[in-house]
């Protein structure tokens, strides 16, 4: 992204491109939180209303109460910022930002479409797991520093919950990594290209099972009912949120809704194909119509529909979490720990063994009905970037040489000649023996699969 921006900036300002790119990406991700919270809180009110045979908000902003969340937001902003006398001022103030920052950091490595990711890490899913575990620190600090018994109870329950759900969640996330052979989330998503039977949830019976274990642990990890022990408004007033009001309280809420969206999006990338839609319209077009695959506008369009796919799948996940919240009663602490440690861990471990068995024996399943490119041909992001950079350097060299040959005497025409040489350059990526072990068909499939998303 920074390279593209640097070409638009006036000469002399190119070094600022990284700053501009970073600020743009940060603004985009913050809008996922802010707008996501507005939309999802309204959706939560409507969903809960319908489940309880009510209408939910109907008046603010028209028939469906569209503007209810906005009205809530204005009310929250105008609230007095209270702090209890017994609270630890520093920790009480910093806790909401800590929860928010951890949730925000996890979004850095989440791909929203093929290659549309703020930070294309080779260890993306590992980073995500590490950062997800830090969000509870904000909750625990909030509970501890509030100087209130309800808050402290909430924090202690949260601590008990963390140590129980993190174990099965980790095992569940490792399973797609085993199948994909990569921790790069863009690679994992690209390996599920093609018809919906290529999604990892259809890889074998064990991934179908472990997807539901993941869903359970994901609900536990975002503190939603039936696992909302830390908040438990009917028992602990509001748990760790008891003493918070106004903007600090809403920061916690934005972090919660952001995390709900995050775990749903991660589940969609790991198990449900990510940006690959159920019917691969765009990938079929890119594979079979060469001039479409060459046009950057079409690839951008394909990626845009991939983005819509991820947003749709993640939003469906969030709606499912709301459905769960308003359907099931809250569990007791010991029931939560039993569910996570006694049922989810053995189930996830069993599925882990099953997946290892399935992968090592190579048994066929739904994935083999309409297979796209073989998994091993989908290369990781750093390999693609390396190849692109080699390609760029070689093209630059050839352009310089061609320019020097055509116009050896006049210096003035050299840039124009260089441009001509660039255009005359064959666009198709030639095999430069960097990947010596890959034959041409595999390579073409890999290049095509990395070139665009699909619907």
């Amino acid at each position: 992204m920074a390279e593209n921006i640097s070409t638009w900036l006036p000469p002399g300002w190119e070094p600022l491109a990284y700053l501009v790119a970073a600020v743009l990406q940060a603004i985009l991700i913050i809008h996922i939180f802010a707008l996501g919270a507005v939309v999802f809180i309204w959706a939560e009110r409507k969903v809960s209303g319908r489940i309880q045979d009510r209408l939910g908000p109907t008046r603010t902003g028209g028939a469906f109460g569209w503007l209810q969340s906005l009205a809530d937001g204005v009310k929250l902003l105008s609230k007095e910022d209270l702090m209890p006398k017994d609270a630890d001022p520093l920790l009480f103030r910093i806790a909401p930002y800590l929860a928010f920052a951890a949730s925000f950091a996890a979004f850095l490595v989440l791909p929203f479409s093929n290659g549309w990711v703020a930070l294309h890490l080779n260890v993306a899913i590992f980073f995500l797991v590490a950062v997800l575990g830090l969000e509870v620190f904000g909750v625990i600090l909030a509970g501890y520093s509030s100087g209130s018994k309800w808050s402290l109870f909430g924090a202690m329950r949260q601590a008990a919950q963390v140590v129980s759900y993190e174990v099965p969640l980790g095992i569940c996330i490792v399973i797609p990594v085993i199948i994909a052979g990569s921790m790069d989330m863009v690679t994992i998503g690209n390996q599920q290209r093609g018809l919906f039977t290529n999604w990892l949830v259809f890889h074998d019976p064990f991934t179908m099972m472990v997807f539901w274990v993941y869903a359970t642990c994901a609900v536990a990890s975002v503190n939603r009912a039936p696992f909302d022990l830390a908040e438990a408004e009917s028992e602990l007033v509001a748990g760790f949120l008891t003493e918070y009001s106004g903007i600090r309280w809403s920061l916690f809420f934005m972090a919660e809704y952001g995390s709900m969206f995050l775990v749903s999006a991660v589940g969609s990338v790991l198990f449900l194909g990510g940006w690959n839609g159920p019917i691969p319209i765009f990938s079929l077009l890119i594979d079979n119509v060469p001039w479409l695959a060459d046009s950057w506008m079409f690839v951008w369009l394909a990626n845009f529909f991939g983005l819509l796919n991820v947003l749709l799948k993640a939003s469906l996940g969030v709606i499912a979490m709301m459905w769960v919240r308003w359907t099931f009663p809250r569990m007791r602490v010991d029931q939560v720990i039993t569910t996570c440690l006694k049922y989810c861990v053995p189930l996830a471990a069993f599925c882990f063994l099953g997946v290892v068995f399935w992968v090592s024996t190579g048994l066929p399943f739904l994935n083999d009905l309409a297979p796209a490119a073989p998994r091993s041909t989908v290369r990781e992001g750093w390999m693609v970037e390396r190849e692109e950079r080699v390609e760029r350097t070689l093209s630059r060299l050839e352009a310089e040489i061609a320019a020097a040959e055509t116009q050896p005497a006049t210096v003035d025409d050299e840039p124009a000649a260089a441009e001509e040489a660039n255009e005359a350059e064959p666009v198709e990526p030639t095999d430069e023996t960097v990947k010596a072990g890959m034959d041409d068909a595999d390579r073409a499939a890999a290049v095509a699969s990395l070139a665009g998303g699909e619907q």
Partner: protein, 256 residues
Amino acid sequence: MNQVASGLVTSQWNIATLGLLAASDGAINWHTLFFFIFALTACGFALAVLVSSHVVRMAFFLIVSLSAASGVMFTSGAHFVGTMQLLIYVGGTVVLLIFGVMLTAQEAFITLKTKAGDWVLGILVGGTLLALLVQVAFLDPTWHSTDYQQRLAAQHEAVTEELRQELLAGRDRSELSPETLQKLADLESEIASGFPENVGRIGLALVGVRADTTDESVGLAGYLLPFEIVSVHLVVVLVGAAYLARAKRRRTDLIE
């Protein structure tokens, strides 16, 4: 940023030892800039851990310091190690806070008062370790210089020049020598994202396949045995901790 850099040149500090905030072509070197921001944050909050007497605040400062240390690793291109730092040290501090402090605390907001004797002892031990670390850090002559990026750029330029000569000699792109192309690919990868391929090497080494050595003597090849020993050790510690916790509860039952 250029003004800051040139201001530093005129001061007594040599800009080369401070690391070059500005690269040779005048561009801002964001990696170096953020490296220093993270490094200063890590040091500052580590000092805050020392001077604070409030245990939970200390834990918070420690977490900021350790996170900044992982940021240092990220800016150095060691993404795997940085993530490990986040997962193990920062996550570990959270668990330490929960179980070490909050579960054993007798009162709210416990404080730690460090005695003068402890300060002296701590400064003695810590200072010795610091001196040792500084000594070791400057032992390797290649670690003295901060011109890593310039050297990388020079290597890149040399390889490009080699390829230019080959192209000038009338060779086609497909006829370029594979060794030079591989060298170019490695350099491009190092410039763009450090050594991402090391993650796979670390994973393979943990299960017994060393990609970086041809030493095939039994027991030395991989890290499978140490890995297993540490795992079993941790399991024993966990079981022991669970046993101790259970025993305490049983005793209170008997008293009642």
